[in-house]
Symmetry: C2
Subunit: 324 residues, 2 copies
């Protein structure tokens, strides 16, 4: 391509050879199967596994970001090569094997989003493909009580998914969702979330440890208050030796919108201004310290680093490695 | 985190709870196994599978980029969260099932880089995990004859990997490597590449179809001249219906260096200025047309889109989807 130009390239691509093709062999049939959705990294002595629960292609409208012009939201999605009115919302719980405990951070949808998110609910299958068993999980840390984070505690039929697990929920988060006054004052859109949290935890309360954010919950995993998205939203620092991973939960939903525009307040942030302040503080810390981060709604495997940009931040996805 | 600040976050993270931990369960043992390295997308009616052959962490020095200050190269790697003197060079051949033919684009290292790249050579294992068999591949398109693209045609023991495949090599590429005058005039670093190409093709010449770049080689896959990296370097447009994928081969090595700085000329580009001109033309087309691209040395799964930046381009990795 010594006289390379866009015209040359386009012309070449359009050429259809006049000569006959070699005899067509019978190709093997297509496989129609994606790789299993898990990915492993080491953080010091901890083995960390991101386990995909699929994706919800969420229809959005002008109300989705409270404090941005809808055209700017659509432009941000288009710039990220996404449709302008459907937000890809992947779900990726994290398993951390500390050597002493096998800890799960958030639990996915439990297959209970199938009616509106048919590409979700793949977590159990991916966990099995990753070589792990729900019965081996002995601690579960909940970032907050929205359905896509807690529903995996139970199956569709209300059976326990994790027979041997202690469950950790931040006290302010538990108190918010279990408060009868909050339920009776809830909006029509919020009420199902209150009822869902009660359904999930109804017969699990004696397994739940409520904690004050800031506590180290299991050796090597410390909770950090990150309130705003929900009143008790909590994130986690996973550390071993001199390595660490900041597990951001829902500090940012899809990063194409909320990492790139951290001041934007989603309709799903219960306290929008506080959520944005928390987001900016955590992203700022992650960028300054060049920390590996995990975002529950980041593109699978939901791991990367945060870089500062002129207007906010960006996610630099972690480079896939063939060995954990 | 109502009074959020970096100090608050850091302090919270450092807190170690004074209360005793719950009794430690015996965690399940770590799994020590990565997910299989394949990833599938559909391009119209074609099923495309990226199959990872692992990564070479290539030591580099001041000579690696001919026309850049080494400090700028190191800074580019640091900005990409990579070590400043080791370039991650992943290898990702592509399989395209057109329904009529199962076509492979480049073949990987054939496990022959193990002595200096111990994390490479995983292709055969990943192909099997993806549900495909080397015996089912009936056409192989070679972008160019560097060892990491052709060695997979043979095993370490010189046996044929693909018993039923027709092999397509661009005529100018074939002629360059098979020319005795080029071999005898080759530098000490280039000579092994000439000898390697002859070793690989020695008993395969009757299976090789030499073509003029621009030809459609199998229905739905057209070759495009992209010379410079090697004299006959060729890329491919995979099209079906209104969808397409531009397979860039070695138009750019690691994108953190050569997509972000397309004018840089690597020591491995045989004609540096032509390689850079070809690269800029193809990246410009890909960005303008918002094309899905595949880069042989891009981070796995080696798929994404090209976006223009102030100084060049950047790779926006494709978002992982749970269904092909």
């Amino acid at each position: 391509m010594s006289e390379t130009s866009r015209r040359t390239v386009l012309t070449a691509a359009a050429v259809v050879a006049a000569c006959p093709f070699a005899p067509a062999h019978a190709a093997a049939p297509p496989v129609h199967r994606q790789a299993p959705g898990f990915y492993r990294v080491r953080i010091g002595d901890h083995e960390v596994t991101a386990v995909h629960d699929g994706v919800w292609l969420r229809p959005i409208g002008a109300d989705f970001v409270r404090n941005a012009d809808y055209r700017d939201v659509q432009q941000a999605l288009t710039a990220a090569f996404q449709p302008p009115d459907r937000l890809p919302v992947p779900f990726t719980p994290l398993a951390v094997n500390t050597g002493r405990r096998l800890v799960l951070i958030d639990t996915g949808t439990g297959g209970q989003f199938a009616s509106f998110a048919p590409q979700s609910g793949t977590w159990a299958e991916n966990l099995a493909a990753s070589g792990m068993d729900p019965a081996d999980i002995d601690a579960i840390l909940i970032s907050h009580c929205h359905p896509d984070h807690i529903n995996g505690l139970k199956t569709k039929d209300n059976a326990l998914t994790f027979p041997n697990a202690e469950i950790f929920v931040a006290a302010p988060e538990w108190d918010y969702w279990m408060d009868d006054a909050n339920l009776s004052g809830a909006s029509d859109t919020a009420r199902p979330q209150f009822l869902n949290a009660r359904r999930i935890f109804r017969d699990l309360a004696d397994r739940v440890t409520r904690f004050s954010p800031g506590r180290e919950l299991v050796p090597g995993i410390t909770s950090i208050a990150a309130h705003g998205h929900t009143p008790g939203h909590t994130v986690f620092a996973v550390t071993s030796g001199n390595q660490s991973l900041l597990v951001l939960g829902d500090t940012s939903n899809n990063p194409y919108l909320f990492v790139r525009n951290p001041q934007w307040q989603a309709i799903i942030d219960i306290d929008g201004p506080l959520a944005a302040a928390t987001r900016m503080a955590l992203l700022d810390r992650a960028a300054a310290d060049r920390m590996l981060v995990h975002g529950y709604h980041f593109p699978f495997p939901a791991l990367g680093t945060i870089v500062r940009t002129a207007n906010g931040y960006d996610l630099a996805p972690a480079m896939w490695r063939p060995q954990p």
